[in-house]
Symmetry: D2
Subunit: 348 residues, 4 copies
């Protein structure tokens, strides 16, 4: 659907938003003569230093191109040929990456039904019977999304418990952090509280959904895995030749807490949207709003009417469940206009 | 090696260059409010239309993230589980993509020694014994690089003959066009003369080495392959969420023949460099200079001295063979300074 | 656990049984001088002819080495790089082949919970939303087990309906027929009634669990798939060099209905076992006994006592569910002795 | 081509021969009531003990189904996702396994031209430039065939030197021992002299070409690799359910040196054949006859005439090169008859 700049603000996805001005400036500033390719440049070096400042000295950051790529590189580090991954059945790696985990990694995803997208310790311990049985792939990684695909967050304590359970069974903990910034903003904690300090082994840190043009990172906290990253990144088609322009985006996000500013704002807009919608008869908000996503059940004709003006998607058409996303550049007016239109659509 | 803007122009690779101003402007211009993700935007639509204008109505263009990604998506379209690819043993897919063809596609590359990086018809026909033998993978694709890794070019007639030989044996012709623009500039022909009109089935069209930030395309000329592209692109980690910013770069390159302007200039600088170097005793230019690469053999101490000031690489250290690349933004002064320094290094 | 010939009859698996004398004789008879390797022999030719007589003229049979191999070759024929398979979550390919489908084929198994191991049409139609969405693998094959892992059978009509549903959505129907003979014996029908005539596209026909030493076949009913079989079989490590000795086993099974004789006998022994056990207080038989498997729930101490004398396995330890298998050479006395011992174990 | 027992002895392959009577008896003897499946039986236990007696205490033997399977399981143990294998360009894994190494393992084979199928230390050391370069797969395994595909043998000292070179560079040494017995017979040494004592890490030990029905083993000498074997064997479709019948064959071969008796006889017949042929004008024997293979160049009409009566194959039709194989059951009369017919065919 072609849109132009007069189109109303999208509520379909945070990746419908454009690039934050500070990030676009950082890209332009990196266009400063020649620089070695493939990461041997000063912007990438700066990102690597900044990663240690933000996530701790053990943290090694690697620039990649997109979220699915960050997941596949991160998981590849920890998985052999006959291993499996325990994850929620709603996990992005299980539902929205076209089977990349199966094709590119060749591993089985052991998917667990959850009420809210969050794994609990028992979801892991109850799936360890396969260990040692040569007819079954061996559980090697627990992968969680922070924030989850339902917009919910793991607390630092919840993550630490999952890490403890995973490590006790010889597994590692992976975090798909496409929206890690939104989680830290919601939890009002440092990024390292939900990664390094929680016992995470490998995670991704997403920039694209938080105002970047295209910039993600794989961060490795287990130094026995480090040597493999450059090879797996290159082989997995996630190595940028002019890497400086990706690294510069991540640097901008990690400067003056732009990541937190953007994420906190998006989260606040989602709360405003949820609060407004929840008051309306005919609308039911169905998950705690802990990030920049609002899930709501509403009548089909109302959805149809609203979709005349706004971009957003059904999450489960049968259930009448829709997802509304806010972004770093969603304004209170955007939300209020949307709520007005929702209110009108709900009227008979 | 950290460099700054006062560092001399790099002769190591065309991807050491920055972004052409017109392309950076196109990126900024695409930052115009919201747009649907994953290609459902007006910049991608414009690129698709432009592809047809440039390469012909049959041509369908798909935006991807980098050159190796373009190769892997393009080849995946044409290869089943027990197939093989015939290519030069110098081919980028065989030498510089960390075995991605083997791991991501699971296919064998049947590599052919060549004097100049170019396949000849006999290189194909002499390797068809495997056909029908169930102990051997089946040759299904001929893949050539245009320009080759030695900077040489296939003429339209040479490509057409390869296509004819491939098709006659039930194979398809793939072109790794990371530097397709440089070839068309050298050959002084339209882009379609060395793709659509030559009988190519699938090719990549590179932007990154020609002034883009990061922008490549897979172009498909066989419509029976089209349905698979979106799935393979997504699964192969080559789908940009904010695709408009990649499409906008390709559109800029395809506007007012910026691609040709950039490539022709880089080629001209390489010729200037080769001409100057060839005159010097102690330097031997070893391949025809048909693009923006110069291959030269020179004494080890000369290389060492020159590397004190300039970035460039040995291609074959044992043979004393180095590669010098020029870029869209290499100036005559850059070349002349380099030649001066080369001359000094050659003096005892 | 080392056992000798005085060990009581195993109820753990039909592959604990030895080789039927007629099959051992067929192997010895095939040891008749030299024969070309890799299937170019007269025993393999005889098997191919016999396949057509048994399954119909369209049926092409290919000798392979084991059940998992038959599944992987059969499925590979029908699956591209971004495809998925819909199957029961109890399917052997999903639970007992160490993730071979994911690693060797690179595809996702979309697993469906079922009460009895059997897919219903709605299990398929409710999982077709992915079609056309490039973020999800594309459903291409429905795979069912006949008999299922719970010992239940699909009627010819049930299979035909699944085939119809699959074909209508552009999918194919695959049958894991490791115990196809037991199904035909239970259903009292020809083998072709539950394969060719039911609209199946590719199936495996198991010999090993029915008295062979090691002999399975992939049978292909869709001639557009035929050309790929020899290549995929070889590449998948399922090609026997001295194939005559495998083909001879399959020929023996297909001669004078030995397959039916063996399977019907095993089925009858399972019914005898189930009938005897069902009468005992403290034992609950939990699935219809439609083949040579009996599933029963019984108290843990009873299981422990019985395991002192007999080989058999828990299917679900938490649920107290065990599986007892009979074989072609299980005798009424074996069953009656087992029932006696079960009765004693149940007494306080 | 259908053949019967009156067909002349095949000189095409050692796998055209049938099963040695002692091995057939061992299979029949193993048909002794029930036995646990998947290797938990007393014949497999006996094979494991015998492996240690023959190859040394460090040696752990694993039963597999065929030679390509033994290679793929053995190599999989040692190879990660971005690794490569250095091998001769004539290696069976590179030429006759339908790209299984590429598809099943996803690795690149770095193939080296050789005059006689044998790798030399310099073939390895000259291909290590890739180490540490993230654009190239990392050399991790050197794989040699013993005997080679040209019928030549590595001496224990040659193997030890290759092992030393491999280990020094962080690589492991793999031996495709489909005809390991023929090598030990030719070299007149123990099997352990060319495996354990030579520093080999993983090798296969072939039975099928030496009189078995179908029986191969993967033997692991590096105990850090052991834990992975059962999983990779099962996943790679190389696990026999009724494994006792495969183990029993290997036990028979390893009893009373049947392996050496069979191999030495086949070797002797090849020498007889080569000696006879070499004396004839018009025939040129082209490789040292160090096993049971004879390579000869002879005129096309002579080949055509001889093929009227005998099964054998061109190795390189253009070069007029044929391969003649002898087997454990080739008799002096078979050879002499063949030589007579060759002599007649050579006469005008």
């Amino acid at each position: 659907m072609p849109i132009d700049s007069t189109y109303p603000k999208s509520f379909a996805s945070d990746n419908h938003a454009g690039v934050h001005p500070a990030i676009l400036e950082a890209i332009a500033a990196a266009n400063d003569g020649d620089a070695p390719a493939y990461g041997d440049d000063r912007w990438t070096a700066a990102f690597e230093r900044r990663t240690k400042e933000v996530f701790g000295d053990r943290a090694e950051g690697f620039v990649v191109l997109n979220g699915a790529g960050a997941n596949m590189v991160g998981l590849a580090l920890m998985l052999g040929r006959y291993d499996s991954v325990i994850c929620a059945d709603s996990a992005h790696i299980a539902t929205h990456e076209t089977g990349a985990a199966e094709r590119l990694l060749g591993v089985k995803l052991v998917t667990v039904p959850t009420p809210d997208g969050k794994l609990r310790p028992n979801d892991i311990t109850s799936r360890l019977d396969a260990i040692g049985t040569h007819h079954e792939p061996q559980p090697r990684v627990v992968s969680v999304s922070q924030v989850t695909e339902f917009g919910t967050c793991y607390s630092p304590a919840e993550l630490a418990e999952l890490a403890e359970v995973a490590h006790r069974s010889g597994m590692r903990l992976h975090v798909d952090g496409a929206r890690l910034a939104n989680a830290a903003a919601y939890l009002d904690c440092d990024l390292r509280a939900i990664t390094t300090e929680a016992g995470v082994d490998v995670f991704s840190f997403g920039g694209t959904k938080n105002g970047a043009l295209a910039a993600e990172a794989v961060v490795v906290l287990d130094d026995t895995l480090l040597h493999a990253v450059p090879f797996l990144r290159r082989q997995s088609l996630q190595l940028a030749s002019k890497m400086r322009f990706v690294a510069a985006q991540l640097c901008a996000l990690l400067t003056d807490d732009l990541w937190r500013h953007n994420a906190a704002h998006a989260n606040q807009m989602a709360r405003r949207l949820a609060a407004g919608a929840a008051e309306m008869a005919g609308v039911r908000v169905v998950h705690p709003v802990e990030s920049n996503a609002v899930f709501a059940v509403l009548p089909e004709p109302v959805v149809a009417a609203l979709k005349q003006r706004y971009l957003f998607e059904y999450w489960d058409r049968t259930a009448g469940l829709v997802r509304w996303m806010t972004a770093y550049d969603t304004t209170p007016d955007h939300v209020d206009d949307f709520l007005d239109d929702l209110r009108k659509a709900l009227m008979p």
